[in-house]
Point group: C2
DNA sequence: ATGGGATTGACCAGGGTGGTCAATATGAAT
DNA sequence: ATTCATATTGACCACCCTGGTCAATCCCAT
């Protein structure tokens, strides 16, 4: 990015990156259109190239911005207190979901990056570090003794995370179909608690249910 | 489609539809390119419009073809014998996976249709009927008494299907990352059995484990 | 040799692309 | 009021790709 962009108001920077990330998230790098980015951000074509060198550098800077943004958010909100794996998963899911509602463009952008495979080396390393960090947060300081003794811990971890991801995905799909609605939002989280209770009953020793 | 196409060799029809489905699956209707379809199918532009009226009718006919193809395949391979839900899910997953490896273009095409929302009414009905049929197959003639008594059946069904879907997705993601490999294929299914055994231990009464 | 279906690919108008740039608008300092 | 640097515009460029057409071939059974 050029100096002109750096000296911009933080919220304006966010708006512009948001426009770019939404476009890249929906269409991928190649088929993303700078004209649509410009329209989304409410600015003229000339301005975009007054702020950035070219399309590629818009993408690169947006990716940097997105990863930083998520990492800051997560760092702020996460305390890895000792807890069971089910509780940890549930908490992370919840955080993720709140973040998704607050910053859908960033979430979608990062998701599309995760599934694409045309990142350069630097970006791949950056992204790998990001994912590793997520794993660390997910597994740090867990109380694994809550799991039933007759089930392997690693197996239980896999099963539980698949289950909770499945719930999350179904939720997203429902939301997308019906349009996301804050009334339903709470309903869904009541359901979530119900399923979490069931999971505890299935996977945990009696004293932890 | 025009008469010329109908009188084509069945395998050639498949090739052409496969090219179209691959293109539509990757790019969606609007951004799909008839030029790329033509290239994929190894034919000239003129030929495509000798077979079909226009881009839309290519899509329509491909969708018909895909749904018919899947339904025939499933009908042939599925006997809904009495079994537990875990076994049913596992079997359907396996069938789905084998089908995916045999006909990836069809699978991806149908998946993209499932997530898109620009189907016309007739297609929506057709697709709804298709999904309903899948649900029927999934739930027909189940032995629900295998589930532990202290867990609600509907809850168990949800949890188990989320879990198994999660496993399937992880498998797909791994395959995509490493390139699908038949050696690994079998490994994965050994793992699968391991996880199924764990699920039975968690969800079933002792006598059904 | 002829007729007719199969097949080609150059071609079209139209629209979108990433990127440029001369022209202006703005606003603070003089 | 003038100056001057910075902010901002959108028309414009050459290029590429689009869905679709069609005159020209090719192929082969008669």
């Amino acid at each position: 990015m050029k100096e002109a962009f750096k000296s911009l108001d933080g919220s304006r920077q966010y708006e512009i990156f948001a426009a770019a990330m939404a476009e890249f998230g929906e269409h991928g790098f190649k088929k993303a259109s700078t004209n649509r980015i410009v329209k989304r951000a409410g600015m003229s074509k000339g301005m975009l190239y007054y702020y950035f060198d070219n399309k590629q550098s818009i993408f690169d800077d947006a990716l940097d911005f997105a990863l930083d943004h998520i990492e800051n958010y997560m760092l702020y909100d996460i305390t890895t207190k000792k807890e069971g794996f089910i509780e940890r998963c549930a908490r992370l899911s919840h955080i993720k979901y709140v973040y998704f509602k607050a910053h859908p463009e960033i979430s979608k952008f990062i998701t599309s990056v995760y599934f694409s495979d045309d990142l350069n080396e630097v970006q791949q390393e950056r992204n790998a570090a990001f994912l590793e960090n997520r794993q660390r947060i997910l597994f740090d300081n867990l109380d694994m003794d809550r799991f039933r003794d007759d089930i392997d811990h690693q197996t239980a971890i896999k099963l539980v995370s698949w289950t909770i991801n499945g719930y999350t995905q179904e939720m997203e799909h429902m939301m997308k179909a019906e349009g996301l609605d804050f009334e339903h939002f709470d309903e869904y989280f009541e359901d979530f608690d119900h399923y979490l209770a069931a999971l505890r009953k299935l996977y945990y020793k009696e004293e932890y249910q």
